[in-house]
Structure formats: C-alpha cells, structure tokens
C-alpha cells in the first residue's frame, strides 16, 4: 500500500502484516496484509466483526500471539523507526508494558486470581522502572487511585472486584509505566452498558493526560465516533476502508462499511451489537481468491469474484478496497 507519509513521523507503522494460525492440518489466515500508521498521541479505531482478525493484529504488535497455534507472522511493524517483528526476544521484552501496553477484552479472566491487584500492577513498575518492592507498591497504589479505586482495596484479590473495577485494574496495569502506545482490545465489550461509558471516559481522560497514542479495537461505532481520530475497517483479515473519522462517518464508500454504518440508526441508542450485514464472513482457512466480501455484497460482479482487489485512494486520507468505488 502506498502511503505518502514518511516513517519518521509515525509512532507506529504497520506494513503488510500477515498472521497465520495452524489448526488441525489447516492454515487459518487471520490477518492478510494489513497496513496502517499512527502518530503519537492519536487514536486509531480498528472496527469489524468478531473473528475479523483485529485481536490478532493487536497481539502481533506486542508479539504475544499464542506460540502453540501460530504458524507464521509476516510483514513489518515499525515502532519509533524500530522494526519489531525481527527483534530478538530480549529487546522486545523491555518494550512490552513500558512503551507499548495492552488492555484486554475480558477483565474477568485477564487478572491472575491468586495475586492481589496491587501486586499485579506493581510487578510491571518494578520491572521497568527499577524500583524496589516498597516503592513499586506505593506507585501501584497511586495508579489505582488514578483509575478510581481507593487504596484500602489495593490488597484485595480480583474475585472481590466487580467487572468494571477489574477493567479499571487492567487499565492501571497497562498505564502504570506511562506507555507511548496503548492497545485496547474491545475494552468495554464485556462490561455493563452503564459501566462502559465510565471506563471509556476514564481511558480518554488518562490518554489525554499522558499523551498516549491508542489503537482501539472495537465493534462499537459509538465508541469510534467518540474517541478515534482515524478508523480502519477490518474484514476477513484485510482493511477494506481506512481514513479519518470524518471520511468514514460522513462518506462511507465500501459496501461493508455502509452496511455497518447503515445499521446505526441513531447514535444515542444502544444498537451497536447488531449484526449489520446479512450473511457470515468467509472461512478463514479457505479464503476466496477475489474480494472476501463478495458473497455478502449486493454490488458484487464477476470481477470481484476473480481477482484480488487493491486499495484505492480517495482524497488525501481516505482508502477503500472495492471495485465499485471508482471516482475519486
């Protein structure tokens, strides 16, 4: 893909990323040539259905894909000019949790049940900031207060916390070392609707305070509208549309994006979990030759079925992968 920006400007630049899993005897193509850039302090939203490969992209950046199932990771990921995928493990490890950190989807399972929450936060601080145990615990308690948990609950275990509180702890772990990039993998999906807004507000507030860039993975378009600067729509492991928030919300071009946004009758109502487009995504172990969306697309032609569709540029910032969208 052709982006005109130079690498120096971007905090992170993902180029032509591939992730393949093995399952039984088959290869599962989870991510197929994804590229995007993100400047420091900005937020990009990765939007798409469950199973589109969003989480795989996130884990590939941190290089925490499951060893036993991962077959191949290809492409390049530049973080402040440094290529991550080729980095030896010893050089990758100091980046994890310090420069890049991650908030996980399910706070119920993301915390170690036999360790106190403060210890789980302090662990990262101790590791990356060379603190002794006492100082790191103190810093962790401060971090807990930052995310709105009072210090007298610091020495409790995760099972004593509600879902929203656990996610606050997860956020505290992620932000404890003041990372430059935060990857949030559906941070609010598992939470109650009322808690979702609180957690999101907290993340936004902290992001602004700390100047952290964020990759926000979600299928909640309301969240995208509220938080993101740019948006990438992921379908079957590919980006099908990529642009600024305004580009996508005001002028969606790809039929899939239109479907997604068309299913959003009113931003103030909670309809985000609707499956917006008829049909199911293709089986990632045998992807079609042509456009992956063709089987669900009302505009699909023979051309779509036959050959791979390239990304086309519309305006300065807007990219679409579709044969139907011709004129700029």
């Amino acid at each position: 893909m052709e982006h005109k920006k130079t690498e120096g400007q971007d905090l992170i630049s993902v180029k032509n990323l591939y992730v393949e899993y093995k399952s039984g005897g088959e290869t599962i193509h989870a991510v197929n040539g994804v590229s995007f850039d993100l400047e420091a302090g900005k937020t990009i939203g990765l939007v798409g259905e469950t199973g589109a490969g969003k989480t795989s992209i996130a884990r590939a950046i941190l290089r925490i894909l499951p060893d036993h199932a991962t077959k191949r990771v290809g492409g390049e990921i530049f973080f402040k000019g440094k290529e991550l995928l080729g980095l030896p493990e010893q050089e990758m490890r100091p980046l994890r949790g310090k420069s890049i950190s991650m908030i996980f989807q399910d706070p119920m399972t993301a915390l170690n049940p036999v360790k106190t929450v403060v210890e789980q936060i302090a662990e990262g601080i101790r590791l990356h900031q060379n603190m002794n145990r006492k100082d790191s615990l103190r810093a962790a308690i401060k971090m807990l207060e930052t995310v709105g948990i009072s210090q007298d609950r610091a020495y409790e275990y995760p099972h004593q916390f509600s879902g929203g509180m656990k996610q606050r702890v997860v956020i505290a772990i992620a932000l404890a070392c003041n990372p430059e990039l935060l990857i949030a993998d559906e941070p609010t999906t598992a939470l109650d609707v009322t808690i979702q807004a609180q957690v999101l507000d907290l993340m936004k507030k902290l992001q602004e305070e700390l100047g952290t860039a964020m990759i926000l993975i979600t299928h909640d378009l309301g969240v995208v509208a509220g938080v993101c600067d740019t948006v990438a729509v992921v379908y079957a492991g590919e980006l099908v549309e990529y642009g600024t928030k305004e580009d996508l919300f005001d002028h969606p071009r790809h039929p899939y994006t239109k479907g997604l946004f068309g299913a959003l009758p009113d931003l103030s109502k909670d309809v985000n979990r609707l499956s917006p487009v008829e049909g199911l995504p293709p089986d990632p172990s045998s992807l079609p030759v042509g456009c992956a969306f063709a089987s669900r697309c009302g505009y699909a032609t023979d051309k779509c079925q036959k050959g791979h569709v390239e990304m086309k540029r519309f305006g300065d910032t807007h990219y679409v992968r579709c044969n139907c969208c011709e004129e700029g």
């Binding site: 490890r93 100091p94 310090k98 996980f104 049940p113 789980q120 662990e123 590791l127 990356h128 099972h159």
Partner: protein, 314 residues
C-alpha cells in the same frame, strides 16, 4: 478459619461413625466361626462357649456393635483373637512405619512428578514431552507390587545395593517408596501437565507476558501457582491411595506396618484386627482429606473468601 476447621471436624463424625458401623457389620456377616478356627477341631463345646463369652461373641448384634463403637471412642479397637493383644496398641505401634512409607511416597511423587509435568507442559507436543507422556502412561499401567519385585531382583539380588525386606534406616524405604509411588507419580505428572497447559493459555498469563515479564517469571510466578491449585486435591487423594497401596507393598517387603497386620488378619480370620486396621486407615484418610482442603483453601484466595464468609454466617 479455626471455626471452619471445627465445623469440618464435626462434619466428619457422622461419616466416620457410618464407616465404623459398615465395617463392623460387614465383618459380622463373614461366614465361619472365628472361635472354632481359633481353638481347632479338638475343642469341646464348653471351651467354645467359654471363648465366645470371653470375646463377647454370644451377645446380639446391636449390643456388640454398641460396645465396639464405645470402644473406638476410647481408642479401643478390641482384642485380637489369635494373639490376645490389644488391636489399638498394635496399630499405634505399627502406624509410624506405614505413615513413613506413605509420606515418603507422596513426597517422592510430588518432588519428581510435578517437575516432569511442568517440563512437559512447557515443551508440549515436542519429542521430550511425548516420551515422558508415554513413560508416565506406562507407570500408570504398572502394578506397584510387580515393580517392587523387579526392583528387588535388580537392586537387591543382582546388584546387592539395597535391602530387599524388613525395616531399619532410610535405605530400607527406598525400594518400597519407589514401588508404591509409581502409579501416583505418573498420574500427578500427567495432571500437572494438563493443568499447566490450560493455565499457560489463559488470559492472565497473556497479561503477564504483555507486562514484559521474562518467560521464566511468567511460568513460575503466574502460571504455576494457578496450575498447582487443582493438583493439591489430587495429591491428597493420592496420599490416601498410597496408604491403601501400602497393604500390598508392605507384604512384598515384609514391613511390619498396618497393611501387613491387616493381611495377616484376613488370612487368619482375625476380624478385630481387620476391622480395626480398616477403620483406622479410614480415619487417617479422612484427616488427610481435611488437611488437603485446608491447604487448598489457604492457597486459593477465592475458596478462602468463601470459607471466611460461611464462617461469618454460621
């Protein structure tokens, strides 16, 4: 926590009582008159009647049961028909040997079995894992007493390194412990492996990796403590299993513990001995399971919280 232990001890009473009644009743219905066996063919009816009266065998079932249960409460397990000695004092004398054998066995099992399981989980599906998994399967399928005989053939008869029977120093326990442990060791290695594999793939281990922790710390500090929680229960029941296993192992190595006492009791139809040994081991087993539960509760904060809560309510 102390109230919880008290509560658990109280709960054990009906179970142990039923155990005692069950075993007593089973032995009551055993065909054959022990007195006739004891006195031989030459005994006169008067002698037999006198012996029956002496052991209380002429009384009805319920009275005998009551007397027996009252006896147990006073730590009196009756009198051996053959030796005329107190079963309880014999049990107390022999118990340390049986306990030593079972404790050393569980220790050996844990110290060897769990690391094998961990290594297998870390290298899951590699060659070393497959070899170990096959070996543990083999160990799981091996009769302990057969391994005991093989070990004696090799280490006592051929190499002359270790004693083949009797009691004494630690060297007398080496072969019995290995033979008694083999099945449990294999079992615990397999269970540790699968528990570990499950935990290694869990979200919080990914969280730990995402923090930037070195892989060693991820495994030892985050995965292992969680993986071992279910293993604690397995170890407890395996300890009990080994107490039972000592019955066979003791007779192979002629270790004068409770197991051999019981086997001799069965062979000579000395029912107070059999009864007493079984009930005694059942009691010990119950205590071990209680201790296991307590350790479990202590290690897992989730369970601990439950207990604390239930105690508060009670």
């Amino acid at each position: 926590m102390i109230r919880y232990i008290g509560k658990r001890l109280l709960q054990m009473i009906p179970i142990l009582l039923t155990v005692a009644i069950l075993i007593f009743t089973l032995m009551y219905f055993v065909p054959g008159d022990p007195v006739e066996i004891m006195l031989g063919d030459t005994a006169t009816p008067e002698q037999i009647a006198a012996a029956r009266a002496k052991f209380g065998l002429d009384k009805p079932y319920l009275i005998r049961l009551w007397n027996y249960l009252v006896g147990i409460v006073h730590l009196d397990f009756g009198t051996s028909y053959l030796q005329g000695s107190s079963v309880a004092s014999e049990l107390f004398l022999r118990f340390p040997r049986t306990l030593t054998l079972a404790s050393l066995s569980i220790l050996f099992t844990i110290v060897v079995g769990i690391p094998i399981g961990i290594q297998c989980a870390i290298h899951a599906n590699k060659l070393s894992d497959k070899i170990w998994m096959f070996l543990t399967m083999l160990g799981n399928s091996m009769p302990g007493f057969w391994l005991a005989l093989l070990l004696v053939i090799l280490f006592s008869v051929k190499l002359g390194l270790l004693p083949s029977n009797g009691t004494g120093g630690l060297e007398y326990y080496i072969l019995p412990v290995v033979a008694n442990s083999i099945g449990s060791l294999a079992d615990i290695a397999r269970q540790t492996r699968s528990s570990m594999l499950e935990v290694i793939r869990s979200d919080y281990v990914v969280t730990a990796r995402a923090k930037g922790l070195p892989e060693k710390e991820v495994i030892w500090k985050h995965a292992l403590p969680n993986a071992l929680i279910p293993i604690i229960t397995v170890c407890g029941s395996r300890f009990g299993f080994m107490l039972g296993g000592t019955v066979i192992i003791e007779s192979v190595f002629s270790i004068p513990g409770i197991g051999m006492y019981m086997v001799n009791g069965i062979n000579s139809r000395d029912y107070p001995v059999v009864q007493g040994s079984i009930i005694y081991i059942a009691f010990i087993f119950a205590f071990i399971m209680l201790i296991t539960d307590l350790i479990y509760a202590y290690v897992d904060p989730r369970i601990k919280a439950q207990y604390v809560k239930s105690v508060k309510k009670a």
